[in-house]
C-alpha cells in the first residue's frame, strides 16, 4: 500500500477520538461553558470500556458505560462550575486530574492486556476503488461518528434546541428573560460533552488501539479542546480539523514506513507541535475569533 493510500484509509479512524471529544465540547462551549476536563473524562471512559470489553461484556455495553462514566465526571464539573459557580478553569483541571487518576487506578490490573477491536464495514463498490478505496472501509464507530457529526451540525444550525443552546451561550441573561432555564440547558450541554468524551475514550482503548496502557489518551483530550478553537466553534471545521490531525498523525508513520528516517520521539511530538502552530495562526486572527466566538464562554451565570 502506498503512503498516500495508507493515510487516506486510516485518517478517519485516527480522527475519530478527536472528533467525538471535540464535538461534545463544541456543544458545551456553544452553551457558554468551558470544560477543560475532557482529557480526564476520556481517560475514565477509556478504562471503563476496556474493562467491560475485556470481561466479554461486548462493545455496545462498553461504549454505553464509558459514556455514562464520562457523563458522571461532567456532572461533577457542572455541579462545581454551574451550581456553585466555582472557577471553571480550576474545576475543569480538577476533573482532568481526577479522571486520569481513576483511569490509572482501575486500569492497573489490565496493564498491557489486549481486547479484540471491531470488524470493518465496507461500502460496496466504493471500497474497491484504487488509492481512495480504504476511505470506504471503516469500523462501525467511524460511520456512526460521521452520522453524529452531521446530526450535531444540523441540530445546532437548524433546530430549535440548537438555537436555544446558542442563545444561552451568546446571552444567558436574555435567554432567561424569555423563559429558558439557562442552568438546566447548560447542565445538559455539559453532560452531552461528557458522554461524547466517554465514547471518544472507549473508541481509543477498545477499537483504535485495543490495548491498555496507562496514560494512553496521551493528550488527545487537550488537542480536542484546541480543535474547538481551531474550528472557531463551527461543526464543519471541527470535522476537517480532526481529519487533518488524523492525517498528520499517520503521515509520520507513512514517511517512516517508506524509508524516511524520522526520530520516533519527534513523531510522537508532531501532533502537539502542529497544535501549537495552528493555535497560534488561528488565534492571532482576533476578528475571526470575535465573530464566531461564544460571547459568554467561561463566565458563571446565576440568579
Amino acid at each position: 500500500m502506498s503512503g498516500l493510500a495508507f493515510i487516506i484509509a486510516g485518517m478517519l479512524a485516527a480522527a475519530t477520538p478527536f472528533l467525538l471529544a471535540a464535538l461534545g465540547e463544541l456543544v458545551a462551549e456553544r452553551s457558554g461553558v468551558l470544560n477543560l476536563g475532557i482529557e480526564g473524562m476520556m481517560a475514565f471512559g477509556a478504562v471503563v470500556a476496556f474493562i467491560i470489553v475485556h470481561r466479554q461484556g461486548g462493545h455496545v455495553a462498553g461504549f454505553l458505560l464509558a459514556g455514562v462514566a464520562g457523563m458522571a465526571l461532567a456532572l461533577v464539573f457542572a455541579w462545581l462550575a454551574l451550581s456553585l459557580r466555582a472557577n471553571q478553569v480550576a474545576a475543569g483541571l480538577a476533573i482532568a486530574i481526577l479522571g486520569d487518576g481513576l483511569s490509572a487506578l482501575f486500569g492497573k490490573t489490565y496493564e498491557s492486556t489486549t481486547v479484540t477491536g471491531l470488524p470493518k464495514i465496507a461500502l460496496p463498490g466504493l471500497a474497491d476503488l484504487p488509492v481512495v478505496g480504504g476511505l470506504f472501509r471503516q469500523d462501525p464507530i467511524v460511520w456512526l461518528t460521521l452520522l453524529a457529526t452531521l446530526g450535531i451540525w444540523y441540530a445546532l444550525r437548524f433546530t430549535k434546541l440548537g438555537l436555544v443552546i446558542r442563545a444561552v451561550g451568546e446571552n444567558p441573561g436574555a435567554a432567561r428573560a424569555i423563559g429558558y432555564p439557562v442552568l438546566a440547558i447548560r447542565y445538559g450541554a455539559v453532560a452531552f460533552g461528557g458522554l461524547m468524551a466517554g465514547f471518544a475514550g472507549a473508541y481509543a482503548s477498545t477499537v483504535y488501539t485495543p490495548l491498555w496502557a496507562e496514560g494512553m489518551i496521551a493528550g488527545r483530550g487537550w488537542i480536542a479542546l484546541a480543535l474547538v478553537v481551531f474550528a472557531t466553534w463551527m461543526t464543519g471545521r471541527v470535522f476537517f480539523g480532526a481529519v487533518l490531525f488524523g492525517a498528520v498523525s499517520l503521515a509520520g508513520l507513512a514517511a517512516q514506513a517508506s524509508g524516511v528516517s524520522l526520530n520516533s520521539q519527534f513523531l510522537a511530538s508532531l501532533p502537539y507541535i502542529v497544535t501549537i502552530v495552528v493555535l497560534g495562526i488561528i488565534s492571532s486572527n482576533k476578528r475571526l475569533l470575535k465573530i464566531n466566538g461564544v460571547a459568554s464562554l467561561g463566565e458563571p451565570f446565576g440568579p
Partner: protein
Amino acid sequence: MTPMPFRLRLIRRDGASRRAALLAPLAALLAAGLVNFLLYIAMGKDPAAVFYAMLVEPFVSWSSFSEVLLKMTPLLLIAEGLAVGFRAKVINIGAEGQFILGAIFAASIPVWFPQATGGWIWPLMLLLGGMGGALWATVPAFWRVRLNASEILVTLMMSLIAAQLLNYLLVGPWKDPMGFNFPQSVMFQNDAILPTLIPGTRVNVALILAFVWAGLIYLYMQKSFQGYQLLVGGLAPHATAYAGFSEGRAVWLSLLIGGFAAGLAGAAEVAGPLGQLQRSVSSGYGYTAIIVAYLGGLHPIGIIFSSLLIAALNIGGDNAMVSADLPKAAVEVFQGSLLVFYLAAITLVRFRIRWRPPQEVRA
C-alpha cells in the same frame, strides 16, 4: 415564567471571613478522605491499614517525616511560582514540562563534564535549571501575548513535547553507556549533588531554597507594587488596562516566574534525591503543584501548608502501596477529589446558602 427547579439560593457575601477561608481546606480534606476511604473499602482494602499508612505513618518517625520534607520541596517551589500566574489569571498548567527542562538543563553539566569538580557546580546547575524552565515558558508567553493563543493549551502541549525530548535524550545521546541500556544518564559526580541539610536523611539545601523562594514570593505578591498590579490585573482586567498596566507584561512575568520555579525544582530533583537524569524524573510534580497552589488559596503562606499536606499524602500513599497493597494511582484520585471538594468548599465559604421559601419562587 416557569419557576426555577432549584429551591436553594446562593447569596454572595461581601467578603469571605478569614476563619471560613481557613476552614474550607480542612472541610475538603475531611470530605475527600471520607469518599476515598469508602472507595478503598469497596476495593477490598483494609481501611484501618490504609488510614494508618496514609495519615499517621508519615509523621511517626523522623525518617519518614524527612521524606515528606523532601517531597515538599519541589511542590512548594513550583506551586509558589504557579500561584503568581493563577492570581493574575495566567493559567500555566505546563509546570511539568518546565520542570523537565530544568532537569535537562541542570543535567547538562554532569553529563557533558563528568570529571568537573568544584563547589560552583551545583549552584550553577540550579541556575541553569531555572533558566531552562523559564525558557520553555517563553513559548506560551509569546504565543499568548503576540498571537493571542490560550496559554492553557500551549503550556500543556509544551509539557507533552518536553516528555518526548527527555525520552529522546535518554534513549539517545545522553544514555549512560554503562547503564545496561536503561533509559537514564550517568550518575552525577559528587560535586553535582546538592549538600545534605540534615545528616542521615535525604533532605538537602533545596528545602531552604524553597522557603526562601516562598518568602520572596510573599514579599513580591503582598508588598510590591508590581505584585499588586498582577493581582489587580487578574481581578479586574479592564480596570487595570484603563490604569495603564500592561496585560502583556503580566503574562510574561507570570510565565517566566512559574517556569523559573518549576525549572529550579527540576534541577533540584536531579541534583538531589535522584543523582541522575531519569525518565520518571518528574513523577507528576508539575500537575500536583496545581492542586497545591489552589489548595493553599493561591496565597504564599497557605501554599507552605498545602505543600506539606500534599507531600505527606504522597509519602502516605507510598506507604499504603507497600503495607495495604493500594495502587499508586489512588493518591492521584485522592488529590483530584480533594481539589473538587476544595472548590466546592471555597464557594460555600464565599456564598451563604439560603433555602428559598416556595412563595418567593414565583416572585
